[in-house]
Every structure is written in C-alpha cells, then in structure tokens.
Symmetry: C2
Subunit: 200 residues, 2 copies
DNA sequence: TAACAAACTAAACAGTTGTTTAATGGTTGT
DNA sequence: ACAACCATTAAACAACTGTTTAGTTTGTTA
C-alpha cells in the first residue's frame, strides 16, 4: 500500500511539506520559509537540497506524476485510474497528493498539460475498444468525446471542495465520491433525457 | 451588448486591469504595482481607490458576479447561462471575464462557493421541472445529479486551456465550445453505452 | 584520531511586496 | 479669486521574498 514516499530523508520531508503547502495555497503563495517551517528545517536547507523554489516545484511535479503513472498496482503498471482509486481509498494518506494533482491542471503547468494529454489518449483508446466491441455507441467527433470524458472526470478533482460542500460533507471523501460516481454511471448509461423527448 | 463596464473612470480601468491580471496569473501572483502598470497609473492610486489589495480582489469578485447574475438579457434577468453564452459569443471582449470567473472556482473564494451553490439550485430547479414534464428521467439521488451537471458544466470553464490545446485550437473559442457542446448533448441524450451491454 | 564531505543553521543580501505619507495639480462651488 | 476637495504621483516604510554566504555540526572513512 505504501510507496517510496515513505523514504524519510530530510529532502523527502521537505518535498512532502511543499506538496502539502503548494496544494493548499498554490505555488505563488508558498514561500521557501513556509516550506521550511512546515518541514521543521531552515529556509537555507530547502534551497540547499533543491537549488531554487522553481526546481522544488518541478521536483514536486515529477514526484506526483511518477506516483500517478509509474505506480505498480495489481492492475498493471501505468494504470492511472487504478492509482487514483487507490489514493481515494486511503484519503487520510493521499489527500495532499490529490489536491496537488488538481492544482496541476488549474495552474497551467507543463506537467499538467502532459498529463491531461495522456489522459485523453487513454480515454481515446478505451472508447475505440468499446466501440469495436459494441459496448459503446460510435460518435461523429470521437476526439471531442474523449476530451469531454477526461474533462468531466478531472472536474471531480478540480472542483472537489465545491462538490463536498454542496453534498454536505466536511471534505471530499468516499461517500461524496460514490454518490458522484453513481450519478455519472447513470448519465453514461442512458443520459438524462427520456427517449421520446430527445431534443434535436 | 455592452454593459456598465464601459464606464471609463480610472477606478474602473484599474479594476479591469486587475481582472485581467488576476485571471491570467492568480491573485497571489498579482502585485499592486503590476496592476498599476497595466492600468497606466501609480501603485499608490490603486490603494487610494480600493483601500487594499484584498478589497480590490473583493471588488473584482463583486463586479464579475454582478455581471454574470444581474445582467439583463432578452431571456430575463438573472439568467446566468444566457449571460455566459453572451460572453462566449463575444470572446474578444469578454475572455478576461471568463478566465476570471473560472479562477473564482479554483481559488476557493467565498464568492465562488456562493456562485457554485446558486448554480446547483438552478440546475436542481431545471431537473425537477424536466422530470415533472416527463422530458428528463427521474433518479435516486437528485441532488448528486444536480451537482454532477454543474460540475461538468463548469469544467469546460476551469479546464478551458487544456480543452483548447487538445482540440488543436490556439485558444478556447466558439469552435471548441460547439464541439464540446455537441459531445455533451449526445452524452445527455443517450449516454455512451449501448443499451444491451449496460454494466451493472 | 585525523580528515573530509555532507547536512544543516543563522545571518546577511538585494529585490519586491502592500501600504503610508507628503506633496502637486486640477476641478468645482462660492 | 478663493477655498475645499478630489485625483494623482513620487518617495519612503517595514515586512517579506528567494538566495547566498560563512560557519557549525554530524557522520563516514582511513
């Protein structure tokens, strides 16, 4: 269950502190001294280990991306949705990663763009296979549909605080996730319009 | 078509500059001096007119929220989707507002939370009416469905840069919007799964 | 034990931040 | 013409920023 994030070197502690703070407040609002305090070290040590704040940010990006993509699970390496599911299953441990991950898409970083594009490719592959096997209906603009599905999936991440508040939870947990999942499954199964009244 | 944003007082110019910069870079990365330069005034004047940076941010929030909710359109006052459609129709003019609006939801400001909740209420009302008239299928968890639809709609806003890039456009324009809209309409009409193979 | 390298800190650095102050110029009302 | 007022600026302020420097501790190796 646990990963190499457990390496308890000081450098790793600093990186984890940065992931927590950048996730919570954004990169621009996260100072080297704040990271240092959060990690229980001096500000100079943060720079000593990472060179600069920008490089620290890059190290955090790399770490999160590696964790979400190269993680080995029972379902095979590179299965991103499996990794994210695992994160959701142990929210207490992985919540900071999820929050950081969501910031990756709204901060417009290169790392976030790459990840998004990879998601679209994966979605594309799944849709193609589904259409080939007859499980999924074909569509005119396959690429737009792939982008739409990825966008919808990620919105659960980027808008998680609003979802949780609106569903009455104090934070985005498994209950919120399953309620949204059920609603989404229903939508993907038969839409929301009754067949007879489908608009043009 | 144009609104009271056309008041060309210096105070309005400063606010518009702030909306542009905060939308582009986020509040934490937007300095009073940067806003002043963008508006062609001195840094002191920014504070003179708004009191502090936090109050300037609040003024921007208020302005955008007012524009998106109290705007009078042919479809009646308070029709948010009509207002947003209007913004999309004249992207050159309103793009900064859309970008600022999207930041409202990812910055977790109170203004964004209020707006999200209002959207959910509107969505709830529309769904109820649709179900009553037989146009929309009922569902077990109506609230979750309302939240899901709002989340999906807003994701087109919060992830607009990724959508545009993935669709091959240089920026999020009417073509991207219509491709996503068509894909969404199809999804809402009959889902993506073929009836015979609907998963449990 | 001596020597060396790495981890680490406190202090100082120049630059930027939000905000204040004092002053100037222009407009308005009388 | 005069007073009052507002818009506006340049300069200064302390607090904070990322980073550097110099130094100290700590651990390893020979």
């Amino acid at each position: 269950m646990r990963s190499r994030s457990d390496d308890s070197t000081t450098k790793a502690r600093i990186r984890d502190a940065a992931i927590r703070l950048i996730g919570r407040n954004g990169f621009a609002a996260t100072s080297a001294r704040a990271v240092a305090t959060e990690a229980g070290v001096s500000a100079g040590l943060v720079i000593h280990h990472f060179g600069s704040m920008r490089e620290l940010k890059a190290a955090c990006d790399d770490f999160i991306i590696t964790e979400v993509t190269h993680r080995k699970t029972g379902l095979g390496e590179g299965d991103v949705s499996a990794a994210v599911s695992e994160w959701y299953a142990d929210l207490a441990t992985f919540e900071p990663w999820l929050i950081y991950l969501s910031r990756l898409f709204t901060d417009d970083s290169v790392a976030g763009a790459d990840l998004f594009d990879r998601f679209v490719e994966m979605s594309h592959t799944m849709l193609r296979e589904g259409v080939a096997s007859g499980a999924i209906t074909p569509t005119a603009d396959e690429h737009a549909r792939a982008v739409l599905l990825v966008t919808h999936s990620l919105s659960t991440l980027t808008l998680q605080s609003h979802i949780a508040r609106s569903l009455g939870s104090s934070h985005f947990g498994l209950d919120s996730l399953s309620r949204m999942g059920n609603a989404a499954l229903e939508l993907y199964t038969h839409g929301i319009y009754t067949p007879s009244t489908t608009p043009s």
